[in-house]
Amino acid sequence: MAPTLPAPITWTPGTLVKAPELRAEVSDTVALMCGPPAFYGGKTISSQNIGYGTITAISIDTEFWDPWNGHRNSVNTDNWYAPLAGYYLAESCMPMDGLTSGGVSAGILATENGTSTSYMGQLTLPTGGFVSAPVAAKLVKQENIGYGTGDYIAAAAWQAYPAGGANPLATNVTARRFPFLTTRWVCALTGTAGLPVPVNASWPAPPAYLTAAFANTSLRDTINFLIYPPVMEWTYIGSSQSVASQTAVPATGATINLNTKTFDNYSAYNNSTNTWTAPVSGVYYCYAQLVLFGGVNSRTIAAGLTVSSANYNSGTAFTYWGGTQAALAENDIVSSAVVRRQLRLNAGDTVKMAGFQYNSAASGEQVQGTSYWTTRMITIWEAA
């Protein structure tokens, strides 16, 4: 049986409160929120060769968690089919064997409303004799539902070894280090935005009485918020933005402009000020990915989240950095860094995407915003 998306009613005076209605609203909501469509699978039994310069889906051979049976180990082994329409957070990690040049990257492949899409994440500079394990995260829209025929999500790998070469490269498999994909449903395709965080008040006891207003707040609005919380992804598409070189990672980074909305149900990102403002209080999953087109003088790269909140650093804005990592000192290839944090924010707190790079020639590097190499930021409300 597929998971059910609740559709809470609006209560009015005289509305009968029926047990079936409560089951359809409350029981289904609790079932969905406590057992959401999700997946965790890995490639743990054998390695997989990845061709040069080809985004390749990973054949998952081990299901750690697949409560809705969206993956099979026998057929369509690359794909996890969503059992419920909505937006999903997909994350992957891609250990690859050691290289002496070139780069390796993790990514997400998907079909969204029947259209194939591909998104690369972190791209790391490998080192001979050591394994690199880049990661990726993407908000993925799943509309067509059906195992084997509907939209799906897959982990992906990419490699360029050596630079300008054409050699296959194997994913790395050990007991503790292997390619994996996780997915989890985060919100419905559509819903009611602008709702406050539910307070979940006690039900009235005599002499107080149940009102339509109470039922709407405690049932309709609470459920609508939980199935459609604030979720945002904006990306940068273009080639007119660059990041200046700095010799040290600063306390507060240079702001990256994002100009293309993927999804922003609470209209929380302002691309004039390049600022995302928390629409409600809570703990947010925050992710940013910076892709730069560097060159032989590139040395390091980092993605950041510049936070302005009374909860951190005495209210003074500062940047959470992911990376800093070594950048590819080669022409005609990008570097990509990611940052990921769970932040407790108050309504009105702001987060800006930040970028850093150090280039031995002290030159700026272009922000990449084309094709599957995109600079982007994701925020997802997760808890009160």
Binding site: G14, C34, Y40, R184, N200, L210, F225, G322, Q342
Partner: protein
């Protein structure tokens, strides 16, 4: 802050006359849990030595617990500062994110989570540069049994060339190593048992499981025949 336990999927029996407390246990607590979830966030503000040699240094010591609302639930749950590990309060699946940083040095840095001393998971492993400080971050979703399973963070370090131990980087708030945990799915167990109907003037559902709001959205009408 009111803490709600992991709920079973509530059952609304028709013909049962619930008390307001029943409505709380069926509606307020489960939806409260879904709103609140289980969150743990901690960071390291004092640097820690990372021994070279492709070693999994751990546990990473977190000296600043940002939030751990279920500390002590059940007995011994939450953060254990002596062991630098976090025990799940409820059975379920948890998204665990590990971020580690290192002072400027050339080498391979990895973010690793250790589940119950039985399984390590490498969440990210990247090359860092002597040009600037470095950091790695990754996450995974892990199964944990409430009151039994625990996780702690580890940092993989292999200097290039070998032989250089290094410290984590806590020079700026934005570079603190961190462990963040969020409940993704909970196993609340079997639906709560329903006790036999009882006679009570405070009933707010009738024998058919119906409750009526009056025309003004006011008093609950007694349809009679309760319990």
């Amino acid at each position: 802050m009111t803490l709600y336990p992991a709920p079973p999927i509530p059952v609304f029996p028709a013909g049962y006359a619930p008390l307001p407390a029943d409505m709380d246990s069926w509606i307020q607590y489960p939806l409260g849990f879904c709103t609140q979830r289980v969150v743990f966030r901690a960071q390291q503000t004092t640097h820690q030595n990372l021994v070279d040699g492709a070693l999994y240094n751990g546990p990473v010591v977190f000296d600043d617990i940002l939030e751990d609302p279920f500390y002590g639930y059940p007995t011994g749950g939450g953060w254990n500062p002596a062991a630098n590990q976090w025990m799940a309060p409820f059975t379920g699946w948890y998204a665990v994110t590990i971020s580690v940083s290192v002072q400027a040095a050339s080498g391979m840095l990895g973010a690793v989570v250790n589940l119950a001393n039985t399984q390590q998971y490498v969440l990210s492993q990247i090359q860092v540069s002597s040009a600037t400080v470095g950091a790695a971050t990754g996450s995974v979703i892990l199964p944990m049994t409430g009151g039994v399973d625990y996780v702690y963070a580890e940092a993989y370090w292999a200097s290039l060339p070998s032989g250089n131990n290094q410290y984590t980087d806590c020079s700026l708030p934005g570079r603190y190593p961190a462990m963040e945990i969020m409940l993704v799915a909970a196993d609340g167990g079997a639906p709560a048992a329903v006790t036999p109907p009882t006679v009570n003037p405070d009933d707010i559902l009738d024998e058919n499981g119906n409750m009526i709001l009056d025309e003004a959205g006011g008093d609950v009408e007694d349809e009679g025949g309760k319990g």
